[in-house]
């Protein structure tokens, strides 16, 4: 038993699960056998959820956030439409989440993943691995250079296709904030046909995963930008329970 006090940054705000996907959704068949039947056990967060791993900027290689170049280690660029994915990681109070690890993965321009289980006809790009990572700066800002991923078919119902998307994993500052989501692209007609996007029943909540084209960050004659802000759970700070503390 420890005598050292755990720094109290406040309890996590309980998750509003109505903005999240239904765990079981028959239109997404795999979820039917992989979703709990019984209610989750609720409890206010404890130090186990309020603390979490931290990663230093020293972890990163120079090309870790450049998926166009990182697989070939700068030798040859990946094929596809060049894009910048950028945005901020924020908490529910709108505060920046600085120094947090953001990891992404995606299919190549033809819609094929570099994974032994992916046997789609689209060819592998010898210069595209499909993973990247970065750590947010002091303002919670991150960016990735990559190529626009292709849409791809997947076995679910008879003729299901995934819209263009980039998978994103974010840590935040506590293990209870851990989140994996997907960025979709403004204007993609496949979003409205996708059973995985449709696991989110609240339309506004799905719309918040659709990144708008952002000309303010696009670079002439080089790349288009898409802005994708990610909001993590916040923490409750009250005058009565805890000393007010900055993050």
């Amino acid at each position: 038993m420890s005598e050292h006090a755990i720094p109290d940054h406040g309890r996590l705000i309980p998750r509003d699960r109505t903005v999240h996907p239904a765990p079981r959704d028959p239109e997404y068949k795999t979820s039917v056998t992989r979703s709990p039947n019984l209610p989750l056990l609720s409890m206010e967060s404890s130090p186990s959820e309020e603390t979490g791993p931290t990663f230093g900027h020293g972890l990163l290689g120079k090309l870790d956030n450049n998926l166009i170049l990182n697989f070939s280690q700068g030798a040859a660029p990946a094929l596809g439409e060049r894009i910048l994915m950028h945005g901020r990681v924020l908490d529910q109070d709108g505060r920046a989440v600085p120094n947090t690890l953001v990891e992404i993965w995606q299919a190549n321009a033809g819609g094929r993943y570099r994974h032994k289980k992916d046997t789609y006809f689209a060819p592998l790009d010898p210069n595209f691995g499909g993973c990247g990572r970065t750590i947010t700066d002091e303002n919670g800002y991150y960016e990735f250079m990559t190529i626009r991923p292709g849409a791809y078919p997947w076995p679910n119902r008879g003729n299901d296709w995934r819209p263009m998307h980039i998978h994103a994993s974010v840590f935040g500052h506590s293990f209870g904030q851990r989140l994996i989501t997907q960025m979709y692209f403004e204007g993609d007609p496949l979003i409205d046909h996708c059973p995985i996007a449709a696991t989110i029943k609240d339309r506004a909540s799905l719309d918040r995963l659709v990144a708008p084209l952002d000309f303010s960050k696009s670079r002439p004659l080089d790349y288009l930008a898409y802005k994708f802000d990610i909001v993590l759970r916040g923490r409750r700070q009250t005058m009565f329970e805890n000393k007010l503390e900055g993050m």
Binding site: P21, T30, S169
Partner: protein, 199 residues
Amino acid sequence: MVQKIDTLIESASQTAGPYVHIGLMPTYAGNGGSFETEVGTDPIAGKIEGEIIEIVGSVFDGTGWALRDVLIESWQCDANGLFPGQDGADPNFTGFCRFAADAETGEYTLRTVKPGSYTGRNGVESAPHISLWIVSRGINIGLNTRIYFSDCDNSGDPLLGRIEQRPRVDTLIARKTDDGRYRFDIRLQGEGETVFLDI
């Protein structure tokens, strides 16, 4: 009109999908070398205080099939009940591990240090436990649960104490199989369903 509440709404979760390892465990996905150092490969970074243990298990779906594509993250305090970053915490323990089921057998192994107990708010002591976060294809929002230990005193633990159906407590307890070895199976659905947490 009432005043406006201007807090933001959490971004919605989406499934990690079948290819989550490409992003989070590139070597496991067959893409080793993508990053110079991968995160979470080993929570033990040097000489460490406490007992090193191995926890082995599977994650079963509602039909009893062990998931081959599941990815798990663990987070815990050190042998003295201190979380990394806290004053006096073991400098060689990161507290964090990322591991996956074996693609052939569906069995995972977590090698870590046995956590100590800690005292939380209001002086309530938690029994030693490891927090888990489970993601895969078909899991639309990551599942949180905890591993407790069959050879520890779990009687006063505040979380276990909240489980109304007492037999379900057993779903969170790793069974000791040998010195330093434990078995912890996770059942996503149906008979013996693991207690998952909303915390």
